[in-house]
Structures are given as structure tokens and as C-alpha cells.
């Protein structure tokens, strides 16, 4: 029977200590007046206890052994008495006139450790009190000593805040194992804090001890690492912890604070019980308990307080809970092994491996300190509690608590107010008015939906704010069944609303309202607006059903998922459901999965595991504007589901690590996500340790997402991150469009190209040529290749330039290929096992062969080392020569009639010359022009392609009136920029003018001639890579096609190339993709 017995134990109020005899039949209390009273446990509050009155000053500590008990006193003496009696045997030891603070007998009852205000701890053999070991190491007086269950480790707590663990083998040499600092407060013997319990209370498993910290928490410190492993804290338990005790089998922990006595479960770290009569309101008069102890043999908790009263609480642990003592211990020893085994089986359920033999050893070895691992693991959800059995079995169990179901972005009721939903559409705020709730629905976009409020008598505790309606659910209460209500926005307060009462016993676990976003405002009634429907409603209920309703209230589908649904959220097209398949796993993973289910077909689009790491919980789920599911976990990591539209291809990518945000440095803030809009995380920033936003509604802040890749501090890393992220988003867009293209995709692709060109420029600058080449493969627009080539040219990387050129040609072909077969990128990526494409191998191979015969590819990529040209320096001659080496045009060119671009470009020089008539006096250095122009020549020649003639039957080509300079522009966007500028004659920047090729006139001028004469020497001095270039393009050329007179080639020589300073690149609108026209 649950009973509390109170005895006034001592005359003088003050520090009162307490100890149970080892058989639990007696309770010893020591008072400030120096007396020890011996209470019989079985007697009530009317007994007259024995008194041991030898103490001259206050008793500070009592320890019990089998045949004796000991008291430590402020009078510097440790006395030993006969067990259960008040007859004193004698003094064990006497300190040097300083108070004894703690005596502790080891589990075997052989040795006693004495802590006093001396700096040393004495370990005294009880059979031979002259055998004293001294442990020195504390810098101040010692407050408490405790023994490890094995009896070989002693922990001591000092006034200096140190906890020292000592290895004290029986009869062996003692040594210090570890000093644990930072937990205990520094307490002067005069301070009140010194009275509070600072002992390291060992869990009977011996694997960790519990200690009350200076921050008023209870922490467990592992014996393996001597580090804090877990924290016991609760909202109700506040204030300094004055006493601490663990039950006999370690299942429960009792702590005393100013707020009362609390019994915790050591596994769930939750407060379980509290004596009813001291469930004090804060500030009530409760004298601080100075010592608390569990009875070793029965379900009894006793404590003494500063008023010197002894309080006994029988049956503190409710009978329905596991016993605090060893539940199977009986007086007879025979059945023990058997029962032990059953225990062990019970343990096995928790995967705590324990050898039977070992358990028995424990049992026989130290009878009273035997312990049993609680077998309530199945009852409560075991929390991660590393446990070790005895000395062997080291399996660590860290099971994460299964997280309860939650509605994303809802908050608990605080000050009678809470948010039921907070998303990118709006907010549902609830105010508790005792008899009813006032529900206030407000939208961010008030032009589309009208805010409203209503009185809710059902006190809904869950809601979801959808595009077209708000869904509410209230729990079952009394005879009122659980209910769901849907209120579409288009018909506030009118017939559009519907509700369902759930059958008894069925409750709503999670709910979501989805639906396409309204195309016009929902504030006014429009006759055709109803056609769009009222969205979709999805409700997960306790039997494991997921019910689908239409916005009008039609029950459309029911899915028996039969597992715990944790959360769900819906948007336009689908609902994103988080469920837990089975229990949590042993390694601490929550085992969460997700499913993405389309509204229209009820198809499961994606399903898989959720990347919630061990020990973390899911904090928020949402769906981005693009439709991608996103999650945010308690580690502050935001992840998004990439390729969610491609069956079986979805995977999670981390989008933002909020813990490493730059803005968070030096601040204590957390982020409460509301939604994701493009590259912005919309969230509410919570200061300090807030977990939820409060009222009034804070402003939504925007944080730019940043994928956690390396070297984000450098510009290269940042650009790489942007490119990577943008590609993910473009894929979303592309997939969503299903093969069609809108304006957005090319625009964003062009933006990526801009970034890439910047990156290419950076890599070229750093001579990371392979990296540059890799980046080139990422380019989207054909015209961006030209820009990349210019960059390469600017850095005098002719070899790189040629490779880009080849890549460009390959890309042109590839696009043609794609379109001929009508392949969408989507299908291509889904092709089961497609070999990685090797661009150059099949299509451009013939070009490469001559390369290797003349110079190696790598060489051209090498840094510029001047070498003497082995061939004649005149470029004209080179060009004349190379054609002779030319083999037949590559076959691949025939295969694809898409050399339009080449065609277009072969006219380009003409146009350029015309355009740039106005800009003759370039002031670039002649030498640079020379060198660059060498390559320019080659590229031009490359483009003069026999197949150019075919352009009239090329489906890709724009209708190109043949020789009109205005119209023959290629689709390259360079021309696009330059054209209007040159027309204006406006000369905006010098670099722009530099891009123009100089004209015939220019050539005729003296400066041109001068430049020409300079060619030979400059080439020799400058770039070795360039020297190869004239030879390279050979195969591409047809001698018959070099229609231009040599003079024109000379002009090309003089043409100067734009230096693409990264901030100076002008970007035109993206060109239409050439290949789209192929369908005709």
C-alpha cells in the first residue's frame, strides 16, 4: 500500500544522514546533535529507536556492512558499531581534527573509505584497522566517496569540483584512474552547497555513475570514457539536487530537489513518480532532503531532511512497474540460477548479451549487491543507455526512442496559445478560451485567400493548411468521437465544409490537406472556380489506415499501412508520408521511411528510407515549391529529395547544415523551418534555447541554402556549390515539364553556364586544366563553349581551347542524336545500364589521331614553356600546309546533318569584320594579338568545313539567307551581343572592341603590317602550346574550301580576342535550342 510514514528523527535540525542496513530491516539516521538512531523498518511512526550517542558533533555519514555499521562525524572520528545495535566497538580512525565527511563500506564489507576535509582519502581494512591506505590527489577536502559495485573502484568528489576515480584492488596498489572535472560545483565546506549530495552514485551495472552537476542536472558518466553520456532533466525538476540514490537493481533513480522528491526511470530518463503529498507548487515550504535511499530489500524509499525528520515512503514504485529490488531474489539460493536464466532471456530481448555464468558469479559473489538488469525493456521504450554486464559482454545498446507523431510546424500550447500549422500558405493560430478554442486562420497571401476565424468547440489539436482548404481534427474525448473537419477556402462558412466522425477507438495520427494551387483568387466566388476542386485530404488514423478524401468529401481510397505514421504533408500533386516500419533499430536509428503518393492515381511515386541519423529526430517535413519533399532533423540538417519525379531514382541530398551557418557563429540560435522557396529556407529564427516560435507571430526570415561541400570558403567552392545546387533544381524543373521546355529552364541553364565560365576562368588561372575541361562538360549551351574557348585563349591555353572545340562539336552531334531518336533526357537517364558516354571516342576519333602523331594532347595542356618552333612560322603557310595532310572528312559528320553551327560560324569572320569596321585602333599589345590570333585562325579554319554547304537541307539551321552578314549570324550568343553594339557604334568597353576582328582596312594600315612582322619572334618567345595548334585542325579542313584569300587569314591573325574578365562578360538572352527544330 502506498503509504508515507514520517518520524521526527532528531532533536536538532540540520544535516541529517541516513542509511539502510544491508538486510533492509533497520534504518540508521545520524543527526546534527551527534546521535545515531536505529529505526526498525517494519515499525511505524510510533516506535522508539535505539540511540548511539557517542558522537560529539554532528553525524555526517553512516555506512553499513554485514556485521557492523560505521558513523562519521564532524568530531573527526569514525566509529564502528555492532550491526543493528547501538553498542560501539571502537574507533576506526581519527582524522587530524577535521570533520569526517563521508564513510563508505565497499560492497563486500571488507574495507571502508573515509573522506574528510583532509586532502587524502583513507581506505581502512575493517578487520585490521591499522591497515590504512591513503589516496592522495585532491586539492581540497573530499566531500563524498562511493564504491563501484565491483569493489575495486572508488570515486571521490572533492570540494574543488573534481571527481577522481581510483583503482583500489583489494590488497593491491592503489592508483588514480581518471579525474573528471567540470560537473561538480566548487563548494566550500561553509557553503550550503557543500551539504548537497555530490556523490557519484554507481549504477549497479557498474557501467556508469550518476552525479548531480552544478547546472542542477543529473548526468551519467560512463566508466569506459569517463565522459558525460546522458543527462537527466525535466521541466518539473528544478533547483539544486540535494540527494541522489539508485534503486537496488538500478531501474530507478531518486533525486531530491527543492521541488520535492522524484523517482526517475534510469532508462527512459523520465520522471515517473513523486509522493503525492509533496507535489509542491514552487516556492512552497519543503525542507530540503539531505539524504535519500532506497531500501535494499523492499519497495521503500526513505529520506531525511534538514528538519531532521525521517520520511519513509512505502511502495513508491507502483506495482504495475518493474520492481526496484531484484524481482526474483528469494531467500533460497537453489532456484537462483534458473531465475537468472530467465532474466537473461529477458535481457536478450534487449540485446544485452550476458553470459549466464557471469550472472551467477555476480550473484554468488556479492550477495547483497547483486543486481539484475531490469527487464522492462519491452514495456517502456528503452532509451539509449549503454550498459555493460559485469565485466565481459560489451555490447552497447543505444536505442533511440521512437519519436511520436507530429504535425509539421505545429507548436504545443503555451500560455493558452499555439500554432496548429505554419507553412508557406499561412498560419493557423489557436487560442484556448477554456470552453472552446478560437481558431484564427491567416494567410501570407491575402489576395488569394481570405483570413478567417471561428470558434471551435471540439478543441481541435491538429490541423493542416492546404492550398484549397484547412483540415482540422479533434481527438476522441469521452463520448465525443474523434472528428475530422475540412473547410475549403472557397466557401467559407457555407456548404463546402464537411466532417466525418471516426468510429470509437480510432484517432487521427496525422493529417494533410493538399491540392493544386488556385489559379485565381478564392476570395470571391467564381462559377468556374469550383471545377478546380477543393483539393485533397489525407488522414492517417490509429489502426494504421491512411484515408484519402476528395476536397468535396468523397472517400476515395484507403490504404492499410499498419505501421506508425510519424508525419505527413501534402502539396499540389502528392502527399509525403513519414512512417516507421517496425520498431527502432538497435543501433539507434529510428527506421523511418517515406512514401510519396500521387493524388490523382494513388500511385506510390517514391518510397524509401529517411536519412535521419542515429539519435536524431525528425523536426520538420515539407514540400518545396518545386514539389520536392524536404526534411529537417534535430541535427539541423535540411535535406531534399532529388529526382523525386523519376521512378526509383529518388535520393536525399543535404541542402543546408544550419549548424555551420556563418550567421550562427557566436550566437545561440536555432531555426524553425516554415518552407523552402527556391534557394531560400524560409524559417523562423529562434533565439537561445527556444524550441518554438511564440506570439505575436515573428517574421519569417530567409536563409540561403548551401549544400555542404568542401572549400565553401573559397570562390571556387562556392561556385561549385551553386552549380551543383542549381542543377538539382533545374532537374526538378525539367522533370516537371516532362520534356517540354519553358523559358525558365534555358534561362537558368544559362545562369549556370555563367557560373561555370567563371569557374573555368578560375581554374585556367590556376592552371588546373583537367578541372577546366571537366567543367566544360557541364556546360549547357553550345554558345557557352565559345566563351570557354575564349577564356582558354585568354590564358594562352591553346590545347585546352582545341579540346573545348572538340567537345563542342561532340555536343552538337549529341544533341542531334538525341532529337533524332526523340529521346528525352528523362528516358535516357532511366535507361537501365547505360555505359558512360565517351564523347570523343566514336565521333571525333579521326580528329585525334593526327594530334598524337604531331604532339601529344597532354603536352598542349602543359604550362607554357618556350620551345623553338619546328616548323615555319608563317601562319599562312601552316594553313596551306595542313590541308595536305588532311584525311577525308570524318564519317561521323555525314551521319548527322547538324553542322549548322559550323556553317554559321564559317560565315562568321565576314560578319565580324564588317561589324568591327569602326574599331580599328585596338590598343592591345601586338604580341598578344598575334598569339591569340594564331589559335583563332585555327579555329576558323576548322570551321570552314565542306559540309557547310549542306546547310540548306539541315533541319537545325535557321533559315539563313546565305551571305547577308546581318542574317548569317550563328546562334552563338557572342554574335548576339556584339551585333547591337556594333550597330550602335557605341564603344562601351575596350574589351568589347577587342573582340572584333580587325578589318581589311586595318590590315592595310601600317600598324597591321607591323604586327604581322612581329609574329615570328613573338611566337617563339611566348607560347609553346600554340605551336601545335596550326597542325591540329588539319583533318577538319578541306583544301577546296579555304575560299578566303590568304589576306583574310592574315586578318584573322590580327584579330584580337576578347579577354573575358569575369565581370565583364555580357550575357544575352539564351538562344533557342537549335535542336528543337528537328521534329519537323
Amino acid at each position: 500500500m502506498h503509504r508515507i510514514t514520517v518520524n521526527s528523527a532528531h532533536a536538532e535540525s540540520g544535516y541529517t544522514c541516513l542509511a539502510f542496513s544491508r538486510d533492509g530491516s533497520k534504518i540508521y539516521t545520524g543527526g546534527a546533535e551527534g546521535y545515531v538512531r536505529i529505526w526498525k523498518t517494519e515499525l511505524g511512526d510510533t516506535q522508539e529507536p535505539d540511540v548511539a550517542a557517542e558522537g560529539e558533533e554532528g553525524i555526517t555519514s553512516i555506512a553499513t556492512s554485514f556485521e557492523c555499521w560505521l558513523s562519521g562525524s564532524l568530531d573527526a572520528c569514525v566509529r564502528v558499531y555492532d550491526a543493528d545495535k547501538s553498542t560501539m566497538r571502537g574507533l576506526v580512525t581519527r582524522t587530524v581534527a577535521v570533520p569526517v565527511r563521508c564513510v563508505a563500506v565497499d560492497p563486500k564489507g571488507q574495507r571502508v573509505a573515509v573522506a574528510s576535509d583532509e586532502l587524502e582519502i583513507r581506505i581502512i581494512d575493517l578487520n585490521n584497522t591499522s591497515d590504512i591506505q591513503k589516496l592522495e590527489g585532491h586539492r581540497k577536502g573530499v566531500r563524498k566517496v562511493t564504491w563501484h559495485p565491483s569493489g575495486t573502484i572508488l570515486t571521490s568528489s572533492g570540494c574543488d569540483g573534481d571527481i577522481i576515480a581510483w583503482d583500489v584492488p583489494a590488497g593491491g596498489e592503489s592508483k588514480r584512474i581518471e579525474t573528471v572535472t567540470g560537473f561538480l560545483p566548487i563548494a566550500d565546506p561553509e557553503s550550503t552547497e557543500h551539504m548537497y549530495d555530490s556523490s557519484c552514485v554507481w549504477h549497479p551495472s557498474g557501467n556508469y555513475f550518476l552525479v548531480a552537476t552544478r547546472t542542477h542536472e543529473i548526468v551519467s558518466i560512463s566508466r569506459e570514457t569517463w565522459q558525460k553520456s546522458l543527462t537527466f532533466s525535466s521541466d518539473v525538476v528544478t533547483g539544486a539536487i540535494t540527494a541522489l540514490a539508485v534503486s537496488q537493481n538500478g531501474t530507478y533513480l531518486a533525486s531530491a530537489t527543492a521541488a520535492g522528491i522524484f523517482i526517475w526511470s534510469t532508462m527512459t530518463r523520465k520522471v515517473l513518480f513523486q509522493p503525492h503529498y509533496i507535489r509542491y507548487t514552487p516556492g512552497a515550504n519543503f525542507s530540503l532532503a539531505s539524504h535519500v535511499a532506497f531500501s535494499p530489500t523492499e519497495n521503500l524509499l526513505a529520506w531525511t531532511d534538514a528538519d531532521a525528520t525521517l520520511t519513509r515512503w512505502s511502495e513508491p514504485i507502483h506495482p504495475s512497474f518493474p520492481d526496484p529490488i531484484k524481482s526474483h531474489l528469494s531467500s533460497t539460493t537453489a532456484p537462483k540460477p534458473m531465475r537468472k536464466n530467465t532474466d537473461i532471456l529477458g535481457l536478450d530481448d534487449e540485446s544485452v548479451q550476458k553470459a549466464p555464468q557471469e550472472g551467477m558469479d555476480d550473484n554468488y559473489g556479492i550477495d547483497d549487491d547483486d543486481w539484475i538488469i531490469d527487464d522492462i525493456g519491452l514495456l517502456d521504450n528503452p532509451d539509449k543507455e549503454p550498459r555493460m554486464d559485469g565485466i565481459h559482454a560489451k555490447e552497447m545498446v543505444s536505442v533511440t526512442k521512437a519519436q511520436p507523431a507530429f504535425q509539421p510546424a505545429s507548436t504545443p500550447m503555451v500560455n493558452k496559445k499555439r500554432y496548429l500549422a505554419y507553412n508557406m500558405i499561412g498560419v493557423i493560430e489557436v487560442t484556448d478560451q477554456d470552453t472552446h478554442n478560437v481558431v484564427n486562420v491567416e494567410f501570407h497571401d491575402r489576395s488569394t485567400r481570405m483570413s478567417s476565424h471561428f470558434q471551435d468547440v471540439n478543441k481541435c489539436d491538429m490541423a493542416s493548411l492546404g492550398e484549397r482548404g484547412a483540415l482540422y481534427a479533434c481527438p476522441e474525448e469521452g463520448d465525443h468521437p474523434a472528428q475530422i473537419m475540412y473547410k475549403p477556402y472557397s466557401a467559407w462558412g457555407s456548404s463546402g465544409e464537411w466532417d466525418y466522425s471516426l468510429p470509437p477507438g480510432e484517432n487521427v495520427v496525422a493529417l494533410a490537406a493538399g491540392g493544386s494551387s488556385p489559379s485565381k483568387t478564392l476570395r470571391t466566388k467564381s462559377p468556374d472556380g469550383d471545377i478546380e476542386g477543393n483539393g485533397n485530404v489525407i488522414v492517417a488514423t490509429s489502426p494504421g489506415y491512411i484515408r484519402f478524401f476528395s476536397g468535396g468529401g468523397v472517400q476515395q481510397y484507403i490504404w492499410n499501412l499498419a505501421v506508425d505514421v510519424v508525419s505527413m504533408v501534402a502539396q499540389r500533386e502528392w502527399v509525403f508520408i513519414i512512417h516507421r516500419d517496425g520498431g527502432t533499430s538497435l543501433d539507434g536509428c529510428q527506421n523511418l521511411s517515406y512514401s510519396l503518393i500521387a493524388f490523382d492515381t494513388f500511385n506510390i511515386l517514391q518510397t524509401g528510407r529517411l536519412p535521419v541519423p542515429r539519435g536524431a529526430t525528425l523536426k520538420w517535413i515539407g514540400i518545396t515549391e518545386e514539389g520536392a519533399p524536404a526534411i529537417y532533423d534535430s541535427n539541423g540538417l535540411l535535406s531534399i529529395l532529388d529526382r523525386f519525379r523519376r521512378p526509383t531514382q529518388a535520393r536525399w541530398v543535404p541542402l543546408l547544415e544550419t549548424t555551420s551557418l556563418a550567421r550562427r557563429q557566436g550566437k545561440d540560435e536555432s531555426y524553425w523551418p516554415v518552407g523552402i522557396s527556391g534557394a531560400l529556407l524560409m524559417c523562423i529564427i529562434l533565439k537561445g534555447r527556444e524550441e518554438y516560435p511564440g506570439f505575436p507571430r515573428p517574421l519569417i526570415q530567409e536563409i540561403e541554402v548551401q549544400m555542404p561541400i568542401y572549400s565553401l570558403n573559397e570562390p571556387q567552392g562556392r561556385i561549385e556549390e551553386r552549380v551543383m545546387r542549381e542543377k538539382v533544381y533545374i532537374n526538378f524543373l525539367r522533370d516537371g515539364l516532362g520534356g517540354e521546355l519553358n523559358e525558365d529552364v534555358p534561362r537558368r541553364e544559362l545562369n549556370i553556364d555563367k557560373e561555370l565560365i567563371q569557374l573555368i576562368q578560375l581554374t585556367c588561372k590556376n592552371e588546373q586544366l583537367q578541372k577546366a575541361l571537366d567543367l566544360v562538360t557541364l556546360l549547357h549551351n553550345i554558345s557557352s563553349f565559345d566563351l570557354a574557348m575564349k577564356v582558354a585563349e585568354f590564358y594562352h591555353l591553346a590545347g585546352l581551347k582545341i579540346k573545348i572545340q572538340l567537345m563542342k562539336q561532340d555536343r552538337i552531334q549529341q544533341e542531334g542524336f538525341q532529337d533524332i531518336y526523340g529521346e528525352k533526357e528523362l528516358l535516357k537517364e532511366l535507361a537501365p545500364v547505360s555505359a558512360p558516354r565517351r564523347p570523343h571516342l566514336h565521333s571525333v576519333k579521326p580528329h585525334l589521331e593526327p594530334f598524337s602523331s604531331s604532339t601529344t594532347v597532354r603536352k598542349s595542356l602543359a604550362p607554357a614553356i618556350p620551345i623553338v618552333p619546328s616548323f615555319t612560322s608563317s601562319d599562312d603557310v601552316d594553313i596551306e600546309h595542313t590541308p595536305t595532310e588532311t584525311t577525308d572528312p570524318p564519317v561521323t559528320w555525314d551521319a548527322f546533318p547538324n553542322d549548322t553551327l559550323a556553317t554559321a560560324e564559317c560565315v562568321e569572320p565576314n560578319k565580324k569584320r564588317k561589324d568591327s569596321d569602326a574599331f580599328e585602333n585596338d590598343n592591345q599589345s601586338a604580341s598578344k594579338k598575334r598569339i591569340l590570333s594564331t589559335t583563332e585562325t585555327t579555329s576558323n579554319v576548322t570551321l570552314i568545313n565542306p559540309f557547310a554547304k549542306k546547310n540548306h537541307n539541315n533541319p537545325f539551321s535557321r533559315p539563313v539567307p546565305t551571305k547577308s552578314t546581318e542574317a548569317t549570324r550563328s546562334n552563338s550568343f557572342f554574335e548576339k551581343i556584339e551585333e547591337p553594339r556594333s550597330k550602335n557604334g557605341a564603344r562601351k568597353t575596350k574589351q568589347k572592341t577587342a573582340t572584333r576582328q580587325t578589318t581589311l582596312f586595318d590590315l592595310a594600315s601600317g600598324s597591321g603590317a607591323e604586327k604581322k612582322s612581329g609574329v615570328t619572334t613573338k611566337i617563339q618567345n611566348n607560347v609553346s602550346g600554340i605551336l601545335e595548334s596550326p597542325v591540329l585542325p588539319g583533318p577538319n579542313m578541306q583544301p577546296t574550301n579555304v575560299t578566303l584569300p590568304p589576306v583574310i587569314d592574315d586578318q584573322n591573325l590580327n584579330s584580337s580576342i576578347d579577354c573575358p574578365a569575369d565581370d565583364d562578360i555580357e550575357w544575352p538572352e539564351s538562344p533557342p535550342r537549335i535542336s528543337k527544330k528537328l521534329e519537323t
Binding site: 494567410f443 501570407h444 497571401d445 491575402r446 489576395s447 518552407g675 519569417i700 530567409e702
Partner: protein
């Protein structure tokens, strides 16, 4: 306009306010709209609950129609102002502030006080700041000489305040100075 003599040489606070109205400010619109093209530029798109930058006059207009929430600038917060106020009182120099902070804060306090956190406190802080700065600018005028007066971080409203006196005083000083100058230099000044 019939204005007192002292005001003719300077602008009125309302005029300054009008100028300040061109400053951009963040708002959270409560309506959805695409980009709009104004003479001063293109603003938007308006996608609640995302922020967007618009000119102050536009924000004020929307606010009066209850179509937006104005996001107060960083400097219009109690912590910031308090810190600046203590700096202001401690140091001789003017602390750096946005050039038109006085106008903007007045407009925001008038129009969007419900979007500000504790507007009364802000108002009193701003007043304290103004007084501290005004005292300094008066003090600074003592250093006026015929060549230059350097007061960094002076804001438009404060500048406007001292302008009439400053301009005339400087004028007088230059004239006095030129009297003392050698004749050929005086002539040069005269010609100027």
C-alpha cells in the same frame, strides 16, 4: 514660396522625407503579383511570404492599404540603437548611420509602428540620439573656419539643420578672410 529667410537656403524636412522615400526597404507583401515596372526600376515579384525590396513610398502606400508588412531595417532595432546611443554619448565623433535614417525612421514609426518591436522605446531612443547628435553638431560648428568644416557621418537631416547657419557663416568668414588677403589673391576671390 513664402518662406522665412533661414529656410530658403535649405530644404524643409518634408522635402527631405520625400527624397528619402526613394530608399529601398524590405517588405513582406500580403498579395501575390508579378514584377512591376516603375520609373525607378523593376520591383517584385511579390510572392508572400518572401521578402522583396521596394521603394519606401511604395511600401508606405501598400502598408496604408494593409497589403504588406514592412521589415524594419537592421538599424531600427532597440539593441542597435541602444548600442549606438552609448557610443554616441561616449565618443566625440558621430557614429555611422544611414544617411537618411532620421527620415526613414520617422516614416516607419508613423506608418508601420505595428511592424516594429516596441515602437515607443524606439522613438525615445531616436530622440535621445538626435539630441546627442545635435549637441555635437552645434559643438562642431565652433570649428568652422573659412576653408572647411569636416564633420563625418553627419546625416541629411542634421546637415539640413546646420546648413543655413553654416553657409552664411562660412560666407562671412571667407569675406573676412579675403579682406586680410594680399590684394592679388583677394582679386582672384572676387572674380570667383
Amino acid at each position: 514660396m513664402t518662406l522665412p529667410q533661414s529656410l530658403i537656403s535649405s530644404m524643409m524636412p518634408e522635402e527631405l522625407e520625400l527624397i528619402a522615400m526613394e530608399q529601398l526597404i524590405d517588405i513582406v507583401p500580403s498579395f501575390r503579383a508579378d514584377k512591376i515596372r516603375l520609373i525607378s526600376g523593376t520591383f517584385g515579384p511579390f510572392r508572400p511570404p518572401s521578402k522583396t525590396k521596394v521603394p519606401l513610398w511604395f511600401a508606405v502606400n501598400l502598408k496604408l492599404k494593409k497589403k504588406c508588412r514592412i521589415v524594419p531595417p537592421v538599424w531600427l532595432s532597440i539593441e542597435f540603437l541602444q548600442e549606438r546611443l552609448s557610443q554616441e554619448t561616449l565618443s566625440e565623433e558621430f557614429t555611422a548611420f544611414p544617411f537618411r535614417f532620421a527620415e526613414i525612421s520617422k516614416v516607419l514609426l508613423d506608418v508601420a509602428s505595428d511592424d516594429l518591436h516596441n515602437p515607443d522605446r524606439l522613438r525615445s531612443l531616436l530622440k535621445d540620439l538626435r539630441e546627442a547628435r545635435q549637441a555635437k553638431s552645434r559643438e562642431g560648428l565652433r570649428k568652422l573656419n573659412h576653408e572647411m568644416l569636416e564633420i563625418p557621418n553627419l546625416c541629411s537631416m542634421e546637415l539640413n539643420e546646420i546648413r543655413p547657419f553654416f553657409a552664411r557663416a562660412m560666407d562671412v568668414m571667407i569675406r573676412l578672410q579675403s579682406d586680410a588677403l594680399p590684394e592679388h589673391l583677394a582679386k582672384v576671390i572676387e572674380d570667383m
